[in-house]
C-alpha cells in the first residue's frame, strides 16, 4: 500500500546514527570489486538481450529506467536485490501486477482503421497493406505476482516484448519485414541483509524459460513462399531454453534527516546465464553502477538517479545506450510521478496507490536502432495490480 516502502524516508530519530561515508564507501568498492571477479567469458554468439534488466517495472521505466538505487516493488528482484534491506519494517508487499505496452504508431494505425471501419471506408487493399508496412508494431506485457520482505522474497514473472516492422527499403533496398521478440517466464527468489547501518547486500536467483526470435524477411521470400514461408522461418529462428540467472547487489545509503545518498552496484547473470539448449546464446555477465539522491520529508520523497549499466560493455553497447537517468516523486505514499531519460529518450509516468489497488500509466521510448538516438519509438503502458502491505 505504500509506494516504494522499502526505500522511503528515514526517521529523524535515526539521523544521528549516520556514520562517515568513507569506510562504507570502501566497503562498497570492495564488494563491487569482489563482484567484478566473476568476469564473463568472451562470447561470440549474439543475443537480443542486452544490458537492460530481464524485467523492468513500468513505473521505473517511466523514470528513465534508473532503478539500481531505488526500484518499485517487484523491480527490486531484477534491478538490485539488496534494496529491500534498506527500508523499514519486515513485511513489505504481497503484490500482483499486469502491464501492457503498446507502440504509439500501432495505436495511431488502429485508431485510424477503427474510424474508417466506423465510417465504412476501410478497405484491405494495397494502400492498407502499404500503411501496415510503414507502421511499426510494438506490443509487450508483464505479469508478476509475489511477496517481498526486508530479508528478500519470491515471486513469479512473465515478460514479453515483440516488434514487427515493415520497411519499404530494407537492408539491400528491397521491402523487408523484421520481426523481433523476446520473452521470459519463471520464478524469482531473493535474499537481502543489512551490513551495519549503511550497507545492504543481496542476491537473487531466477530460474526461467527464455525465448527470442529475430527474423528479417525480404520481398524475395514473400514472392517465393508468402506468409507460410515467413511463419516457417520464424519457427526455425525461434530459440528457447531454460536457464538460471543469478544477480548480486550491494547498496550503500548515507542518510541524514532530509537527504539520502545512495550508491549501488549489481552484477547480473553472474558468470553468464547458460541455457538448456545450446542454440540459445548465453546472457552475459554485466556489472552495473548507480547513484541516487533522495531529498525527503517524513511522507514525501524525491529520488533522482543515474545508472550506468554494463560498465564493462560486455554486450558492446556504447555508454549512451547503457545510460538511464530520471526522477520519481512520491507524495504521501499515494501518488507518484516520474520523468527521466531512458537511453537518452524522454519518459514520464504516474502511479496511483488506491488502498489495495495500484494503477500505473506512462510513456517511454525504446531505441530500435543500433545506437542511441537513431530510431526511437514511443511506447505507452498501463499497469494495474494490487499490493497488500
Amino acid at each position: 500500500m505504500i509506494l516504494g516502502k522499502h526505500q522511503t524516508t528515514v526517521s529523524p530519530l535515526r539521523a544521528h546514527e549516520n556514520v562517515s561515508p568513507t569506510p562504507v564507501l570502501q566497503k562498497l568498492v570492495v564488494c563491487a570489486s569482489v563482484l567484478t571477479l566473476f568476469s564473463p567469458a568472451v562470447l561470440n554468439a549474439d543475443t537480443l538481450r542486452k544490458s537492460a534488466p530481464l524485467y523492468e517495472n513500468p513505473f521505473d521505466l517511466s523514470a528513465g529506467g534508473a532503478s539500481l538505487t531505488r526500484a518499485t516493488q517487484e523491480g527490486v528482484f531484477f534491478s538490485n536485490p539488496s534494496l529491500p534491506a534498506l527500508g523499514r519494517g519486515v513485511l513489505r508487499w504481497i503484490y500482483g501486477r499486469t502491464a501492457v505496452h503498446f507502440g504509439a504508431d500501432a495505436i495511431d494505425l488502429a485508431r485510424t482503421s477503427f474510424q474508417k471501419k466506423k465510417a465504412g471506408t476501410l478497405k484491405v487493399d494495397s494502400s492498407f497493406i502499404e500503411s501496415l508496412l510503414k507502421t511499426p508494431i510494438h506490443i509487450g506485457n508483464d505479469v508478476s505476482l509475489g511477496f517481498i520482505s526486508a530479508y528478500g522474497g519470491f515471486g513469479i514473472f512473465q515478460t514479453l516484448r515483440a516488434d514487427i516492422e515493415g520497411r519499404q527499403y530494407g537492408s539491400v533496398g528491397l521491402p523487408e519485414v523484421r520481426t523481433k521478440a523476446e520473452a521470459a517466464a519463471g520464478l524469482v527468489a531473493s535474499g537481502s541483509i543489512p551490513v551495519g547501518d549503511t550497507l545492504a547486500l543481496g542476491a537473487s536467483i531466477k530460474p526461467s524459460y527464455a525465448a527470442e526470435t529475430f527474423e528479417s524477411i525480404a520481398l524475395s521470400d514473400f514472392s517465393s513462399g508468402g506468409s507460410k514461408q515467413m511463419l516457417a522461418d520464424l519457427k526455425t529462428n525461434t530459440k528457447y531454453g531454460y536457464g538460471v540467472s543469478v544477480s548480486l547487489g550491494a547498496t550503500a545509503q548515507f542518510r541524514s534527516q532530509n537527504f539520502d545518498l545512495r550508491l549501488a552496484s549489481t552484477v547480473d547473470d553472474v558468470g553468464q546465464t547458460k541455457f538448456s539448449v545450446a542454440e540459445v546464446p548465453p546472457w552475459k555477465q554485466t556489472i552495473n553502477l548507480g547513484i541516487g539522491i533522495v531529498p525527503h520529508t517524513r511522507k514525501n520523497a524525491l529520488h533522482c538517479a543515474y545508472d550506468l549499466r554494463d560498465v564493462k560493455a560486455a554486450y558492446g553497447e556504447h555508454w549512451t545506450r547503457r545510460s538511464r537517468a530520471g526522477c520519481k516523486a512520491l507524495f504521501n505514499s499515494r501518488v507518484g510521478i516520474a520523468a527521466g531519460y531512458y537511453q537518452g529518450w524522454p519518459s514520464y509516468g504516474i502511479v496511483l496507490n488506491l488502498t489495495v489497488m495500484r494503477l500505473e500509466a506512462g510513456s517511454y521510448t525504446r531505441e530500435f536502432g543500433t545506437e542511441a538516438g537513431t530510431q526511437g519509438r514511443r511506447v505507452y503502458f498501463v499497469a494495474t495490480g494490487f499490493e497488500m502491505p
Binding site: A15, H16, N18, V19, S20, S126, K134, R167, Q168, Y169, G170, S171, V172, G173, L174, P175, A218, L219, S220, D221, S223, S224, F254, S256, Q257, N258, F259, I293, P295, L302, C304, H318, W319, T320, R321, S323, G326, C327, A329, I337, A339, G340, Y341, Q343, G344, W345, P346, S347, Y348, T365, E367, G369, T370, E371, A372, G373, T374, Q375, G376, R378
Partner: protein, 241 residues
Amino acid sequence: MNHMNKKRKRLIQLNPKWMRILHSTTALSLFAAAPLSLVSCGRNIVAGYAPKNEQEKAELDMESGKFSAAAERLNALLLEDPTNHSARSLLASAYAAQAGITALGLIKSAGSSSASGNSAQRFNAILPDATTQNLEWMDKACDNMAQIPLEARTTEIKLQYSLFFSAYAFLQVKYFTTQAEALASLSAEDATKLIQTLAQAAEAGGSSPLTKAASTFSTSISSASGDGITKVKTVLAASTP
C-alpha cells in the same frame, strides 16, 4: 566523543535554509524534466555523443524519402569499404528511387498492370517519364548493381538486379518509343546499350512479369532481321504506341 558526534551531525544535517533550497532545486528539476520531454519534442539528448551507424541512417533516410541524403551517406561508406555489397545494393535503390522506381512499386504495378498491347506499351504506364535525368539515375542504379560480384549476390540482390535492369531497359524503350525524334536519331551505341541492358536483366533470371517481359523483348530483337541497330529500330517501331 560527544563532541565528535555533534560535529558529524552538523556536517550531515544541513542548515534548514539550505535544506529548503536543496528541496526546491530538486523538485524544480523534476518538474522541469516533464516539460523538457515535450520541449525536446521527444528528441534523444545523448544522440550527439553516440557513434553513428551511417548505413542504418541511410536506411532510415530512404524510409523518409531522403534519397539523395541516403546516396551521399552510402557513397561515403563505399569509399571506405567498396566491398560493402548491401550498401551498394541500397545505393542502387536510392538512385532508382530518385528516378521514381522502387522494387515494391515495380512488383505491385507489373503484377496488376492490365494495359493491353505489347510488353513495352504495358510497362510505359507503370514507369516514370523517360527523361534524360531519370535515365541517368537508372544508369547509376544498374551500374552499382553490376558492381556487386556474382558470388556476393544474395537472392534479394538478384531480385533487385533483375528488376532494376528490366525497368531500365523498358525506360530506354519508353524514351525511344514515346519521342519520335529520339527513335529517328537512335545510334548504334544506344542500340547496344539497350541490348546489353536486356541481356543483363535476363542474366539474373527471376519470375516477375517485368523480367519475363524483358526476356521476351530481348528475344524479339534477336529474331528480327537486319544488323543490330536495324533490329532494335524495327522492334522499337513496332512497340510505338
